[in-house]
């Protein structure tokens, strides 16, 4: 199904993926779900999407997420967390700002442990004349385990000038100073690690609908304890 589009250094207009979930003008949609499978959303004028994706060990595979902002004033908030301990995990996020005046926000945090390999590929595309666009993307990774591998590829493709876009990506380890602080106050090393991992994932937790937050938080704790 994948069309081969030859990038020759210019903006390439591609169709909205078939089967995309359309969020009609002025409506809002909130989704909190497990990750697998390809997903596509198309947002009309003034529509908003609040999407939170969760991937825990064992249930994570390749995922593709596409969000098209079709009408002025649409806004998308995409967030997700992934914890992997083995196998390959990949997440590809494409956000297309086709018209001006839209906002998109991405926050994806992941813990890669054991022998897992993770690949995050995020792309923001701002079409020509999509002025007043605001698009942000963040991807943080914690790499735990000598056999683990993390790869991140945050990309910006911008063809309009009156925009505010940024992305940030990190791959790192648990903060030693923080661990020392906790240990010097009587928190065992293992507990300190768990606390740090939870706090690393917690910004994503804020995007989980309130009704489900406790359940997800419990799941996170249980998962990081088993790492």
């Amino acid at each position: 199904m994948k069309e081969k589009i030859i990038d020759r250094g210019h903006y390439v207009e591609v169709p909205v993926p078939a089967g995309a979930v359309v969020v009609p003008a002025g409506r809002s949609l909130a989704v909190c779900d497990a990750l697998p499978g390809p997903r596509a959303y198309a947002l009309e004028a003034g529509a908003s999407l609040d999407l939170c994706l969760l991937a825990f060990p064992g249930e994570s595979a390749g995922t593709e997420l596409t969000v098209d902002l079709l009408g002025e004033g649409a806004s998308a908030s995409l967030s997700g967390l992934y914890v992997c301990s083995e196998g390959e995990f990949s997440l590809k996020v494409t956000v297309r700002h086709r018209v001006g005046g839209c906002t998109s926000n991405q926050l994806f945090n992941g813990i890669v442990a054991g022998s897992a390999r993770s690949a995050f590929d995020g792309r923001i595309i701002v079409a020509p004349d999509a002025q007043k666009t605001k698009a942000y993307q963040t991807n943080h990774n914690l790499l735990l385990g000598v056999e683990a591998r993390a790869e991140t590829r945050p990309q910006l493709e911008i063809y309009a000038d009156d925009v505010e876009c940024s992305h940030g990506a990190t791959v790192g380890r648990l903060d030693e100073a923080g661990q020392f602080y906790m240990q010097s106050r009587g928190i065992p090393e293992r507990e300190a690690r768990v606390l740090q991992m939870i706090s690393f994932l917690s910004p994503v937790l804020e995007h989980v609908p309130e009704g489900r937050r406790e359940e997800v938080a419990a799941r996170i704790e249980q998962t990081v304890r088993s790492l």
């Binding site: 250094g9 990774n141 590829r153 791959v171």
Partner: protein, 482 residues
């Protein structure tokens, strides 16, 4: 500012002349057009090269033939007819005065501000190797340098006089089959600079190469090899210009840098090849492979580049951080205007323990240009405690240009830390208003803001280059307010 005024400003800007665009009338000798093994043999014979170097060229040519031109760049690269290029052009030597530089050439470099006579004004400051089309015409201050044991000469001379060094290091950083353009260069390279700084020597002056394309229908394939032995120190600069022509000219260079234990190399480029006209006709296709290896522990390599010229730039100065605790930096300002396209960035490959790298890239796109940062940071499993920080900012001037960021981060080492951040925005109206309000005209205000934006990079340039680079930035962006 009203629309008319803006239009005027833009017009002024696009009609601005490229002041290095003149042609030098000098008798030149060429090899026939086209590329085949005979041409390579001819080039090699003309340069009086030893057998091993011809074999190296032919081997590279065979590799090149089996390769395909890369298409992954975010570039609209025109089809290049490799049979329609003259691969060797050299100004004829006067038989009566074989030792002297042709006055026309001396005048050309004078006009470009490159002193070939060791004048007092610049004495002891910069040594220059001047390359005109396919040959090096002069290298200054060789005597003073050789007293310290430093070898600084044209590549061809190095092959004749120091074959053991050339043979040891040639293609040790960029193998002949590394990529399409590096293979092409390895097959047909003409001249470039060679530099060797022996153990523990601190180079007393800046070394510099100046590349000039003059002849029509030719390509320039320079090859530069820099070796800094244990504990030595070197600052090297590179500049380049070409005449204005309606057709594209190919420039495919290879630069290799070897940095041994505790040595420190700083490599600076101000790239000002002819960028083509406002309609995108002509200009240099700058397809370059630059790579350094920090081979020994504690070694350091710093890249600084200011890219303002070329119709198309495809260039990724990279560092392989092999030695433990070695470090590298990449500072870049890339300015594109009209229909220029740039796809440039760096690669930092961390292999050794405790290696550190830092990337600061500032892209400025105006007119209808496309400007991309493409970079890679990789930590191998052995890069214990390695660290990278990357910052890539893009500034957009005008609604028809594009700015793109394509970084790739790969980590296989849990104790390594990498951070990447990028922003894209236009010149803030508040800043412009603030300047205008205080009597600074819009053009100067843009210059001021861009100057401030690029300062972090410009301040890394050697003094001789910094002034030129600042001027270039001003010229490149005057009046291009969006």
């Amino acid at each position: 500012m009203d629309a008319n005024e803006e239009k005027d400003l833009l017009r002024n800007f696009t009609q601005q002349e490229y002041k290095e665009g003149f042609v030098t009338e000098v008798e030149q000798e060429y090899v026939p057009k086209g590329l085949n093994e005979d041409i390579i043999r001819t080039i090699s014979a003309r340069k009086g090269e030893p057998e091993w170097l011809l074999a190296f060229r032919l081997d590279a040519f065979r590799k090149w033939q089996a390769m395909e031109q890369p298409r992954w760049g975010h570039l609209d690269l025109p089809e290049i007819d490799y049979q329609d290029i003259i691969y060797y052009a050299a100004p004829k030597k006067d038989k009566d005065r074989p030792k002297e530089i042709d006055p026309a050439l001396a005048e050309t470099f004078e006009k470009l501000g490159i002193p070939l006579k060791e004048r007092e004004a610049l004495a002891g400051v910069v040594a220059v190797d001047a390359v005109f089309d396919s040959v090096s015409v002069a290298t200054t201050f060789r005597q003073a340098l050789s007293e310290k044991g430093i070898i600084f000469c044209s590549f061809s001379e190095a092959v004749r006089e120091h074959p053991e060094l050339v043979r040891k290091y040639l293609a040790s950083v960029v193998p002949s089959g590394d990529n399409y353009f590096a293979a092409l260069n390895s097959a047909v390279f003409s001249d470039g600079s060679f530099c060797y700084v022996p153990k523990g020597v601190k180079c007393p002056m800046e070394l510099s190469s100046y590349f000039r394309i003059n002849a029509a229908g030719t390509g320039q394939f320079e090859r530069t090899l820099i070796v800094a032995d244990e504990g030595s120190q070197l600052s090297y600069m590179e500049g380049c210009t070409a005449p204005m022509r309606d057709e594209n000219q190919l420039h495919a260079a290879v630069v290799e840098i070897v940095v041994e234990k505790d040595a420190d190399v700083k490599y600076s480029t101000v790239q000002n090849w002819y960028p083509g006209d406002a309609q995108g006709r002509g200009g240099i296709l700058n397809l370059v492979t630059k790579r350094g290896v920090c081979r020994g522990s504690g070694s350091h390599l710093s890249w600084t580049q200011v890219e303002t010229g070329s119709a198309i730039t495809w260039k990724y100065p990279s560092t392989i951080l092999q030695g433990d605790y070695s470090s590298s930096e990449f500072y870049s300002v890339a300015v594109t205007n009209n229909r220029q396209q740039a796809d440039t960035g760096t690669k930092m490959i961390h292999i050794g323990r405790g290696t550190r790298s830092r990337i600061v890239s500032k892209g400025i796109s105006a007119g209808r240009s496309q400007n991309s940062y493409r970079g890679m940071v990789r930590f191998n499993p052995g890069a214990v405690g390695a660290r990278n920080y990357s910052q890539c900012d893009s500034l957009l001037i005008g609604s028809e240009c594009g700015a793109h960021t394509f970084p790739l981060i790969q980590s296989r080492c849990p104790s390594a830390v990498v951070e990447h951040e990028a922003t894209t925005s236009k010149i803030s109206e508040d800043q412009l208003f603030y300047c205008n309000q205080r009597g600074i005209p819009p053009e100067d205000a843009v210059g001021l803001i861009v100057g401030g934006y690029a300062r972090e990079v410009l301040s890394r340039l050697p003094m001789e280059f910094a002034t030129e680079a600042r001027k270039l930035l001003q010229v490149s962006l005057e009046g291009s307010i969006g």
